[in-house]
Amino acid sequence: MLGASLLATGVALAGSSSNQQVVVGTTGGLLYAKGTFRPVRNSADSTQYIGCSIYAYDSGSRSIACYATDAVGNYRNCSTSDPGMVQVAASLNPASYLYFVVNADGSCNRVISVNASYNL
Protein backbone atom coordinates (compact mmCIF):
# COMPACT_ATOMS: atom_id res chain seq x y z
CA MET A 1 0.00 0.00 0.00
CA LEU A 2 2.79 2.34 1.03
CA GLY A 3 4.84 1.33 -2.02
CA ALA A 4 1.91 1.96 -4.29
CA SER A 5 1.43 5.37 -2.72
CA LEU A 6 5.10 6.32 -3.28
CA LEU A 7 4.92 5.17 -6.86
CA ALA A 8 1.82 7.25 -7.38
CA THR A 9 3.24 10.45 -5.90
CA GLY A 10 6.89 10.12 -6.99
CA VAL A 11 9.97 10.58 -4.80
CA ALA A 12 10.13 13.87 -2.95
CA LEU A 13 13.38 15.83 -3.44
CA ALA A 14 14.77 17.98 -0.65
CA GLY A 15 17.61 20.45 -0.42
CA SER A 16 18.40 23.70 -2.11
CA SER A 17 17.75 23.88 -5.82
CA SER A 18 18.82 26.34 -8.49
CA ASN A 19 16.39 27.67 -11.02
CA GLN A 20 18.87 29.73 -13.07
CA GLN A 21 17.51 30.12 -16.57
CA VAL A 22 19.69 31.46 -19.36
CA VAL A 23 20.37 35.12 -18.82
CA VAL A 24 22.41 37.27 -21.18
CA GLY A 25 23.66 40.72 -20.34
CA THR A 26 26.63 42.99 -19.95
CA THR A 27 29.24 43.15 -17.23
CA GLY A 28 32.02 45.71 -17.21
CA GLY A 29 31.27 46.54 -20.82
CA LEU A 30 31.53 42.90 -21.90
CA LEU A 31 28.76 40.54 -22.91
CA TYR A 32 28.02 37.52 -20.78
CA ALA A 33 25.68 34.56 -20.55
CA LYS A 34 24.85 32.29 -17.65
CA GLY A 35 22.55 29.44 -16.81
CA THR A 36 22.22 26.16 -14.96
CA PHE A 37 21.88 23.10 -17.13
CA ARG A 38 19.02 21.31 -15.37
CA PRO A 39 16.52 24.18 -15.10
CA VAL A 40 17.44 25.36 -18.58
CA ARG A 41 16.77 21.91 -19.97
CA ASN A 42 13.49 21.71 -18.03
CA SER A 43 12.31 25.20 -18.88
CA ALA A 44 8.84 25.69 -20.30
CA ASP A 45 10.09 27.32 -23.49
CA SER A 46 11.76 25.36 -26.23
CA THR A 47 14.26 28.08 -27.06
CA GLN A 48 16.90 28.45 -24.37
CA TYR A 49 20.04 26.40 -24.08
CA ILE A 50 23.60 26.88 -22.85
CA GLY A 51 26.81 24.92 -23.15
CA CYS A 52 30.33 24.60 -24.44
CA SER A 53 31.77 22.42 -27.18
CA ILE A 54 35.35 21.18 -27.07
CA TYR A 55 37.32 20.67 -30.27
CA ALA A 56 40.53 18.63 -30.29
CA TYR A 57 42.83 18.46 -33.31
CA ASP A 58 45.60 16.11 -34.38
CA SER A 59 48.09 18.94 -33.89
CA GLY A 60 47.43 18.56 -30.18
CA SER A 61 45.63 21.86 -29.86
CA ARG A 62 42.20 22.20 -28.34
CA SER A 63 39.61 24.94 -28.63
CA ILE A 64 36.22 25.57 -27.11
CA ALA A 65 33.16 27.46 -28.14
CA CYS A 66 30.69 28.42 -25.43
CA TYR A 67 27.22 29.53 -26.45
CA ALA A 68 23.83 30.32 -25.03
CA THR A 69 20.43 31.42 -26.18
CA ASP A 70 17.92 32.90 -23.77
CA ALA A 71 14.17 32.37 -23.81
CA VAL A 72 13.61 35.14 -26.33
CA GLY A 73 16.38 34.08 -28.69
CA ASN A 74 19.30 36.34 -27.73
CA TYR A 75 22.47 34.49 -28.66
CA ARG A 76 25.87 34.79 -26.99
CA ASN A 77 29.01 32.97 -28.03
CA CYS A 78 32.75 33.02 -27.40
CA SER A 79 35.68 30.84 -28.36
CA THR A 80 39.18 30.28 -27.05
CA SER A 81 42.08 27.85 -27.01
CA ASP A 82 43.24 28.94 -23.58
CA PRO A 83 44.12 25.69 -21.76
CA GLY A 84 42.58 26.82 -18.46
CA MET A 85 39.25 27.68 -20.00
CA VAL A 86 39.31 24.50 -22.09
CA GLN A 87 39.73 22.62 -18.82
CA VAL A 88 36.75 24.38 -17.27
CA ALA A 89 34.63 23.48 -20.29
CA ALA A 90 35.73 19.86 -19.93
CA SER A 91 34.48 19.85 -16.35
CA LEU A 92 30.88 20.62 -17.31
CA ASN A 93 28.30 17.99 -16.37
CA PRO A 94 24.56 17.77 -15.66
CA ALA A 95 25.08 19.47 -12.28
CA SER A 96 26.77 22.49 -13.85
CA TYR A 97 26.05 26.14 -13.78
CA LEU A 98 27.92 27.91 -16.61
CA TYR A 99 28.92 31.53 -16.84
CA PHE A 100 31.03 32.99 -19.64
CA VAL A 101 32.11 36.49 -20.57
CA VAL A 102 32.96 37.56 -24.10
CA ASN A 103 35.78 39.91 -25.09
CA ALA A 104 35.13 42.48 -27.79
CA ASP A 105 37.09 40.37 -30.29
CA GLY A 106 34.83 37.34 -29.75
CA SER A 107 37.26 35.42 -27.57
CA CYS A 108 36.27 34.22 -24.11
CA ASN A 109 37.27 36.54 -21.32
CA ARG A 110 36.45 33.91 -18.71
CA VAL A 111 34.56 30.66 -18.41
CA ILE A 112 33.27 29.64 -14.99
CA SER A 113 31.47 26.50 -13.95
CA VAL A 114 29.89 25.60 -10.65
CA ASN A 115 29.23 21.94 -10.12
CA ALA A 116 26.99 21.63 -7.09
CA SER A 117 24.13 19.61 -5.66
CA TYR A 118 21.66 22.47 -5.93
CA ASN A 119 22.18 22.41 -9.68
CA LEU A 120 20.97 18.82 -10.00
Partner: protein
Protein backbone atom coordinates in the same frame (compact mmCIF):
# COMPACT_ATOMS: atom_id res chain seq x y z
CA UNK B 1 54.72 58.02 -6.49
CA UNK B 2 57.35 60.25 -4.93
CA UNK B 3 58.79 57.23 -3.18
CA UNK B 4 58.93 55.28 -6.43
CA UNK B 5 60.69 58.15 -8.20
CA UNK B 6 63.08 58.53 -5.30
CA UNK B 7 63.88 54.81 -5.43
CA UNK B 8 64.39 54.95 -9.18
CA UNK B 9 66.69 57.94 -8.72
CA UNK B 10 68.65 56.14 -6.01
CA UNK B 11 69.06 53.11 -8.24
CA UNK B 12 70.17 55.20 -11.17
CA UNK B 13 72.60 57.18 -9.03
CA UNK B 14 73.92 53.95 -7.57
CA UNK B 15 74.25 52.38 -11.00
CA UNK B 16 75.90 55.52 -12.38
CA UNK B 17 78.32 55.55 -9.47
CA UNK B 18 79.17 51.91 -10.08
CA UNK B 19 79.86 52.68 -13.73
CA UNK B 20 82.02 55.66 -12.85
CA UNK B 21 83.88 53.64 -10.23
CA UNK B 22 84.46 50.74 -12.64
CA UNK B 23 85.83 53.02 -15.36
CA UNK B 24 88.09 54.92 -12.97
CA UNK B 25 89.59 51.84 -11.29
CA UNK B 26 90.48 49.99 -14.45
CA UNK B 27 87.82 47.36 -13.94
CA UNK B 28 86.17 45.99 -17.10
CA UNK B 29 84.39 48.93 -18.63
CA UNK B 30 80.61 48.85 -18.75
CA UNK B 31 78.31 51.14 -20.64
CA UNK B 32 76.67 53.88 -18.63
CA UNK B 33 73.10 52.98 -17.67
CA UNK B 34 71.75 56.28 -18.96
CA UNK B 35 72.99 59.02 -21.22
CA UNK B 36 75.14 61.33 -19.11
CA UNK B 37 76.74 64.54 -20.25
CA UNK B 38 80.54 64.74 -20.29
CA UNK B 39 81.74 64.43 -16.75
CA UNK B 40 85.18 65.62 -15.66
CA UNK B 41 87.76 62.91 -16.17
CA UNK B 42 89.12 61.60 -12.89
CA UNK B 43 92.61 62.87 -12.19
CA UNK B 44 93.60 59.86 -10.12
CA UNK B 45 92.88 56.18 -10.34
CA UNK B 46 91.41 56.11 -6.82
CA UNK B 47 89.34 59.20 -5.99
CA UNK B 48 89.28 60.65 -2.53
CA UNK B 49 86.04 60.50 -0.55
CA UNK B 50 85.58 64.23 -1.14
CA UNK B 51 85.91 63.80 -4.90
CA UNK B 52 83.47 60.93 -4.84
CA UNK B 53 80.98 63.05 -2.91
CA UNK B 54 81.36 65.95 -5.36
CA UNK B 55 81.05 63.72 -8.40
CA UNK B 56 78.03 61.98 -6.94
CA UNK B 57 76.43 65.36 -6.39
CA UNK B 58 77.01 66.31 -10.02
CA UNK B 59 75.71 62.99 -11.26
CA UNK B 60 72.71 63.24 -8.99
CA UNK B 61 71.81 66.63 -10.46
CA UNK B 62 72.30 65.45 -14.03
CA UNK B 63 70.35 62.27 -13.49
CA UNK B 64 67.55 64.19 -11.79
CA UNK B 65 67.41 66.53 -14.79
CA UNK B 66 67.39 63.57 -17.17
CA UNK B 67 64.63 61.86 -15.21
CA UNK B 68 62.60 65.05 -15.17
CA UNK B 69 62.86 65.30 -18.94
CA UNK B 70 61.82 61.68 -19.39
CA UNK B 71 59.02 61.71 -16.82
CA UNK B 72 56.36 64.18 -17.99
CA UNK B 73 53.48 62.51 -16.12
CA UNK B 74 52.90 60.28 -13.10
CA UNK B 75 52.05 57.42 -15.47
CA UNK B 76 55.48 57.55 -17.04
CA UNK B 77 56.88 55.09 -14.52
CA UNK B 78 54.39 52.50 -15.71
CA UNK B 79 54.98 53.42 -19.33
CA UNK B 80 58.70 53.20 -18.86
CA UNK B 81 58.38 49.80 -17.27
CA UNK B 82 56.29 48.65 -20.19
CA UNK B 83 58.76 50.12 -22.66
CA UNK B 84 61.62 48.39 -20.90
CA UNK B 85 59.74 45.11 -20.83
CA UNK B 86 58.87 45.25 -24.52
CA UNK B 87 62.38 44.72 -25.93
CA UNK B 88 62.91 41.85 -23.52
CA UNK B 89 59.69 40.23 -24.69
CA UNK B 90 60.58 40.69 -28.35
CA UNK B 91 64.00 39.21 -27.70
CA UNK B 92 62.47 35.90 -26.64
CA UNK B 93 63.10 32.90 -28.85
CA UNK B 94 60.38 32.46 -31.46
CA UNK B 95 57.80 29.76 -31.00
CA UNK B 96 59.04 26.78 -33.01
CA UNK B 97 55.48 26.04 -34.09
CA UNK B 98 55.10 29.47 -35.62
CA UNK B 99 56.74 30.39 -38.89
CA UNK B 100 58.38 33.83 -38.89
CA UNK B 101 56.00 35.38 -41.42
CA UNK B 102 53.49 32.70 -42.28
CA UNK B 103 51.31 33.25 -45.29
CA UNK B 104 47.65 32.63 -44.54
CA UNK B 105 46.71 29.16 -45.68
CA UNK B 106 44.25 28.84 -48.58
CA UNK B 107 41.79 27.06 -46.32
CA UNK B 108 41.92 29.97 -43.88
CA UNK B 109 41.31 32.49 -46.65
CA UNK B 110 38.42 30.39 -47.88
CA UNK B 111 36.89 30.08 -44.42
CA UNK B 112 37.19 33.78 -43.77
CA UNK B 113 35.52 34.50 -47.10
CA UNK B 114 32.72 32.14 -46.09
CA UNK B 115 32.32 33.91 -42.76
CA UNK B 116 32.26 37.30 -44.45
CA UNK B 117 29.60 36.07 -46.86
CA UNK B 118 27.52 34.84 -43.92
CA UNK B 119 27.90 38.18 -42.18
CA UNK B 120 26.79 39.92 -45.37
CA UNK B 121 23.64 37.82 -45.57
CA UNK B 122 23.07 38.26 -41.81
CA UNK B 123 22.69 34.64 -40.80
CA UNK B 124 24.77 31.65 -39.81
CA UNK B 125 23.18 28.56 -41.28
CA UNK B 126 23.77 24.88 -40.68
CA UNK B 127 25.44 24.73 -44.07
CA UNK B 128 27.82 27.56 -43.07
CA UNK B 129 28.55 25.79 -39.82
CA UNK B 130 29.31 22.50 -41.50
CA UNK B 131 31.47 24.02 -44.19
CA UNK B 132 33.57 26.20 -41.90
CA UNK B 133 33.81 23.54 -39.20
CA UNK B 134 35.24 21.14 -41.74
CA UNK B 135 37.95 23.63 -42.58
CA UNK B 136 38.94 24.42 -39.00
CA UNK B 137 40.89 21.20 -38.65
CA UNK B 138 43.14 22.08 -41.57
CA UNK B 139 44.27 25.43 -40.19
CA UNK B 140 46.94 26.46 -37.76
CA UNK B 141 45.69 27.17 -34.28
CA UNK B 142 46.19 30.88 -34.81
CA UNK B 143 44.08 30.82 -37.97
CA UNK B 144 41.45 28.67 -36.30
CA UNK B 145 41.23 31.06 -33.36
CA UNK B 146 40.80 33.97 -35.76
CA UNK B 147 38.01 32.29 -37.73
CA UNK B 148 36.17 31.26 -34.57
CA UNK B 149 36.49 34.74 -33.13
CA UNK B 150 35.18 36.26 -36.35
CA UNK B 151 32.06 34.14 -36.12
CA UNK B 152 31.67 34.91 -32.42
CA UNK B 153 31.93 38.63 -33.01
CA UNK B 154 29.29 38.49 -35.73
CA UNK B 155 26.90 36.33 -33.70
CA UNK B 156 27.21 38.57 -30.66
CA UNK B 157 26.61 41.57 -32.88
CA UNK B 158 23.30 40.15 -34.04
CA UNK B 159 23.98 37.76 -36.92
CA UNK B 160 21.07 35.32 -36.75
CA UNK B 161 21.69 31.68 -35.89
CA UNK B 162 19.54 29.43 -38.04
CA UNK B 163 19.76 26.42 -35.76
CA UNK B 164 19.93 25.41 -32.09
CA UNK B 165 23.32 24.44 -30.81
CA UNK B 166 27.00 25.23 -31.11
CA UNK B 167 28.29 27.58 -33.81
CA UNK B 168 30.78 24.92 -34.95
CA UNK B 169 30.60 21.16 -35.19
Amino acid sequence: MKTALACALCMLVGAGGAWWFASSTGAPKVDPPVAVRDAPAPARTVPTPTEVAVLRGIMREELAAALKEQAPSPMSAVSASAALAAPAASAQAPDPDEEPNPEPSPVFVQAQAQVQASIAKGKWTEQDREQVSGELGRMTQKERDEVMRSVSRALNAGMRVDFAGPPFL
